[in-house]
Symmetry: D2
Subunit: 230 residues, 4 copies
């Protein structure tokens, strides 16, 4: 099963909002006048200038909300460490886990023996969960026995500044594969909704043309498109 | 001059986004299915239940962006202390202050003598600012002599959870009058854009029917409408 | 195995720091003069007044750092949702899990059949983990099969304002038992280090004398001491 | 008058706390064992490695609290925009401003004519403030007429990660002079209290040996010591 991501909400007219917010810092005019003068071309070139000069706070004014399914609790435990974001996640205290499965890593899928062991073990865990429930153990206690890779779902919201930070960390080849797959799908959707905001994004190899990692992977991406299509 | 507030961006379909995010916590279904089933009535009653049970985090998924003019730097110094928000504010380092004025408090406006003193003093401050600039002092240093009440403008974004917190503090009669006027205008606009989200809002006298302040003002608002029309 | 908590750092002279920070808001004096005048009694009564009037921001100036062991990843996934805190947690990508075990809920411990099932299942999971490692699967992928209740360890820091918020939520009987046990041990340590700061703490039944939960448990704690000794 | 800064609180044994928190991520041992093994030399070299590899989150576990006097409200309006920090600031609503003065920028001090204009204007503003008070205008309204450069005082707390970020921005020659002076004094105090934490700090010219500003000032600092002694 692979991660399923939907963009369920985003700020309309995102690029112009960012540009207007930035321009108000340096202009004697009000927001309405500023927005009137913002053509698509002016907006795009102004946003580029903002990014190049490191003036990133105006990108906080626009937000993107994603619904995510088919992701493991391994990955979400790491995901929710990003504190400048909002999360609503399926509860294992309240929702019975009978319809759900364990995410299988690719490395396991590709190895017949490993896969067989993995499947057998997850089935045994699910049986144990059900037996514990039958013995009167509560959901919130029975879940201790479920595999850490059990799938979960959540709704998350980040502003564009934090999204850029997230993409720079989590699209790096050194990131955990699952959260990287999540980031890839999020970027594709965000770019579609707000191309001027996300036309440059990702780890330093892509966004700045040079790897800035302390321990480089040795395989920098050649372009944003290649990164997204891999 | 009075504060001018515009809502320049907000999350579309806000009530359904909050409801879907909340429901994903307790449901085995995905976000798309959940949103399909959310009629206006179901959404409104579900949001009420969320608020009543103190489950406020789903309200973080929707955001509101305001452009504000005609507010003093006295008020914005206090405003930006709300840390769960994003601000882009006009710079006094880069923008010449020649077109701007000082906000006059109502108590001063109503007292002829005070008003005369106030106007004379602000004019003298502006003259001094210009003379300092003429002497070669930079804008960023000349502004030290400007009145603290000098008007400024900014773009600010808050999510609905933080907005509710903001309204509960800043619509109280004990709040500074200017930030209270700002809050009043923000709530009117936010309610118009997302009525189900803000049909109950404000200090405890309005939102909970009982004053919870340590030092009550003694004049609780009778209703949200009265609070907004005062 | 039960949770092990140590307080490894805290702000010295915590009560006086909070009091001095609060007093600077309302006083024409500087911090040094203010601190000189703060006897233990004056400090304690001033802190009580701050809390009673809801002026909580000065409590942010003091921090407490805890080292935690013997806690499940079930509990830490929930714990790290508290965003106004700092965490450093043991990595399952880098640390082999061979020496670790699964936390056993009390409800399972007390039921002989459930306990037997649970132990058998966790052993089978550990064997599977080792077999996957032996087949060449990486630690970061093999861990998907480990029980969600696998123990972990972490260092966490919160300021006193956030700690009070944490205690109000997580010491409630309705909180998950493991994070409640963590909160109980944290409060005992924090109180020992800064009694004036934490002499009143916990859910509303204890801290305010009345339950404010939407769905009360029906068994309010009679006192802070009883809550801590249960 | 120049800014007066005191370090009134900081986490004891700061370097070892950061090192222990970081080591727990990659070690099968608990915090107590880790701390026992941390000599001064091991700690210092480990912290250097952390910084070089960009693993900055462990630096959040230690905090520093400063009491600041003799700073203008111009500077503090900008200062409090750093949201990952805690502030307690003197209130102009509650504290009469009679004993306070206006901060005079160096550029004004050095120009006899400008200085004379400045002094005359601030005196006139203070007289107007008092006259307004005498007419019955409240402090919170009379303060609108005070110069924006009026001195204020505050207590602020930042963790070491945020302090490093603050120093990188605010010790740059392009930062506003007053907040730069504040940052300089803060760094001197923080380094004294925790030398291993702050032996490398400041803008990219100092901390990384190369200017990364979009608009370089052209006068990179040669060393941290030169930056602090200027």
């Amino acid at each position: 099963m692979s991660i399923k991501v939907e963009l369920i909400a985003s700020t309309p007219d995102a690029a112009r909002i960012v540009a207007a917010a930035a321009k108000i810092c340096y202009s004697p005019s009000g927001a309405a006048d500023i927005m009137d003068g913002l053509t698509r071309e002016k907006t795009a070139s102004f946003l580029k200038m903002l990014r190049d000069s490191g003036h990133l706070s105006p990108f906080e004014h626009i937000s993107f909300t994603f619904a995510v399914e088919g992701i493991s609790r391994v990955a979400t435990h790491q995901l929710v460490r990003h504190r400048l974001a909002s999360y609503s996640q399926q509860s294992q205290r309240y929702v019975g886990m009978s319809g759900q499965t364990c995410i299988v890593p690719d490395s396991v899928l590709k190895d017949e023996n490993a896969h067989a062991l993995f499947i057998k073990q997850t089935e045994s865990a699910w049986n144990c969960y059900k037996e514990l429930i039958d013995l009167g153990i509560s959901r919130e206690d029975a879940r201790f026995i479920l595999p850490h890779g059990t799938e979960t779902r959540l709704v998350m919201t980040m502003n564009a500044r934090e999204l850029h930070h997230f993409f720079s960390l989590r699209l790096c080849r050194r990131a955990q594969w699952e959260i990287r797959e999540l980031a890839r799908k999020m970027l594709i959707l965000a770019r579609d909704a707000a191309p001027e905001i996300f036309d440059v994004a990702g780890p330093s190899c892509v966004a700045e043309g040079v790897c800035k990692e302390a321990h480089p992977c040795g395989q920098p991406y050649e372009s944003l498109e290649k990164m997204l299509s891999e």
